[in-house]
């Protein structure tokens, strides 16, 4: 059986998008394309309550079919990996729920099954989560206010790569930052199986003034398309060679 690839955008921001379309709308668009949008909102050390700027964090994740979480930068590493994994489980569970609806009728979801059966289904979901391939595009907000948090973000991402590469399934990561120098987003690291290679490229990040979160998500979405196009072209090419 050929397993599908889970696609995720992991947005790391401190909120306050201020340019372009509504990020929740572009997240919804990405979700429709089969890409889950997870969002991590970083709090300032002295922030205790939910600041207004971070309200959009939950909305983006909700419309992106993903998970959101607000954290102080100290807890970033663990949160990044938890959010990514929960996002995977949520996506897989959504797919399983779709199947269930087809088998059991419209109204049935996992929550309507008794705990015994739910347990069995969850085992399948867990199996899929462990073995399916995963593509994560990390989208980092590098607006001025994020500047002092970037070293922690980098550490958290290397840590994420340790976690995900301990899975059975394969992983591919890419990192983009926004705002870009001339475009909405700039490439920091092209699709690669590990993030250790990142250490050399990360210092490139420069902090600017505007925060075009919406346009950034839209652009990020296309990066998946580009790559799968390229890959399918390669695959076809290989097949051609084999056929020849």
């Amino acid at each position: 059986m050929k397993k599908g690839t889970l696609k995720q955008i992991l947005l790391i921001t401190d909120g306050c998008s201020n340019k372009g379309e509504d990020p929740a709308a572009t997240a919804a668009l990405a979700h429709q394309q089969g890409i889950t949008v997870n969002v991590i909102g970083i709090l300032e050390d002295d922030q205790t309550e939910e600041p207004e700027g971070l309200q959009e964090v939950e909305e983006i994740a909700l419309s992106g079919g993903g998970v959101s979480q607000l954290v102080y930068k100290q807890a970033l590493s663990q949160t990044v990996q938890m959010v990514t994994k929960q996002g995977m489980t949520q996506t897989l569970q959504g797919l399983v729920n779709l199947e269930l609806k087809q088998i059991l009728g419209k109204e049935q979801t996992m929550e309507d099954l008794d705990p015994e059966k739910r347990g069995e289904i969850m085992e399948v979901v867990e199996d899929l989560g462990e073995t399916s391939d995963l593509e994560v595009l990390v989208l980092i907000d590098t607006s001025a206010s994020m500047h002092d948090k970037l070293p922690t973000v980098k550490e958290a991402l290397i840590d994420l790569s340790i976690s995900l590469n301990s899975r059975v399934g394969r992983n591919r990561f890419a990192i983009y930052n926004f705002p870009g120098k001339r475009k909405d987003i700039d490439k920091v690291l092209d699709w690669s199986p590990r993030l250790d290679t990142m250490s050399s490229v990360f210092p490139k990040l420069t902090s600017g003034g505007i925060t075009p979160t919406g346009p950034a998500i839209r652009e990020a979405m296309y990066q998946f398309g580009k790559k799968s196009l390229l890959r399918s072209f390669r695959n076809n090419h290989e097949q051609d060679i084999e056929n020849a």
Binding site: Q69, E111, R118, G119, M122, E126, D159, L164, S166, R167
Partner: protein
């Protein structure tokens, strides 16, 4: 996550009765025992018996933990984790549904507290108990994962170290489900987060390190050196230093390997108290010497008495 936890927390107060949607069993909340990574645990009354009830907003996490508890129940002849009593859903008065499970309530003392009162000689005992339990767990195809001080309790008569939270338990070969940075070898740059016996052995060492460094310590620029130095600084841990270093660097493939080496360290330690007594036996020359001097002195004294 704390934000979402509030939702079920706001309903559950001491005295609230919770009735399961599927099995209709009733539980009366007594008090909160603590917050786990994925939910809260309450002490409750289940038909006159005390039990622990874990409830979470994330239904899937509860289901996953239940699956683990069920598989641990199948490990024969050992009570590795708390035994599972019930799994159900609770519909709040406002119509929200939360998943929960009920398990055996393990009553005991925290490990550092116990050691403070009863002495460091328990280190060896607990280490062997843990290694033995881990060995059974590993042999049945699982890795504990989130092994840490907070997930252990010392129960009385007989004194035994028991596991109270098995949420991180992962099938061997997969990615560790749940971990705590200080106990995680990935965090220290000393290995992957793949579930294998050596992952637990690393965490086991960190459990005993944590007992002596309750506030933990930063990893520094060279995590391995930091760790080794901190262990060397604690007198009670020094006898186990070599074993600890091997466990931290993943040299042990199985718990049993480590258990055997720890056993021989403990054996040596128990013989050591006899060496000082031996030294007392080595002392006789000195004692005879002093007796000799005394006799000579006495002789002089007596002769000095005779002279006049």
């Amino acid at each position: 996550m704390n934000k979402t936890l509030k939702t079920h927390d706001s309903f559950l107060r001491p005295g609230v009765t919770l009735t399961g949607k599927w099995h209709q069993k009733r539980y009366v909340i007594i008090r909160k025992l603590g917050n786990g990574a994925i939910g809260s645990v309450y002490l409750c009354d289940a038909n006159g018996r005390k039990a622990a009830l874990k409830i979470s907003d994330i239904s899937t996490s509860i289901t996953m933990e239940v699956n683990v508890l069920k598989s641990l129940g199948k490990v024969q002849g050992k009570s590795l984790g708390p035994s599972l009593l019930d799994v159900d859903d609770w519909v709040t008065p406002l119509g929200q549904t939360f998943s929960f499970y009920v398990m055996e309530y393990i009553h005991g003392r925290a490990l550092p507290e116990f050691m403070k009162q009863n002495g460091n000689e328990w280190i060896g005992v607990f280490m062997l108990q843990l290694l033995e339990d881990l060995d059974s767990l590993h042999q049945s195809g699982w890795v504990f994962g989130d092994l840490k001080v907070d997930n252990l309790l010392v129960t009385g008569s007989p004194t035994r170290l028991r596991w109270i939270d098995v949420g991180g338990t992962t099938q061997i070969g997969r990615a560790i489900k749940e971990y705590t940075e200080f106990y995680d070898r990935g965090y220290w740059g000393l290995g992957t987060r793949k579930a294998e016996p050596s992952y637990d052995l690393f965490a086991l060492v960190m459990v005993f390190v944590s007992v002596f460094y309750p506030k933990h310590f930063p990893k520094g620029s060279n995590p391995q050196t930091t760790l080794f130095k901190k262990i060397n600084d604690v007198k009670a841990l020094r006898p186990y230093e070599d074993c600890f270093k091997k466990a931290l660097t993943g040299k042990y493939q199985t718990s049993d390997e480590m258990k055997q080496e720890i056993t021989s360290v403990i054996y040596d330690l128990q013989r050591k108290p006899q060496t000082p007594t031996k030294r007392k036996h080595d002392n006789p020359p000195l004692a005879m010497e002093s007796i000799g001097f005394l006799l000579i002195a006495l002789g002089y004294y007596l002769s000095s008495l005779l002279i006049p």
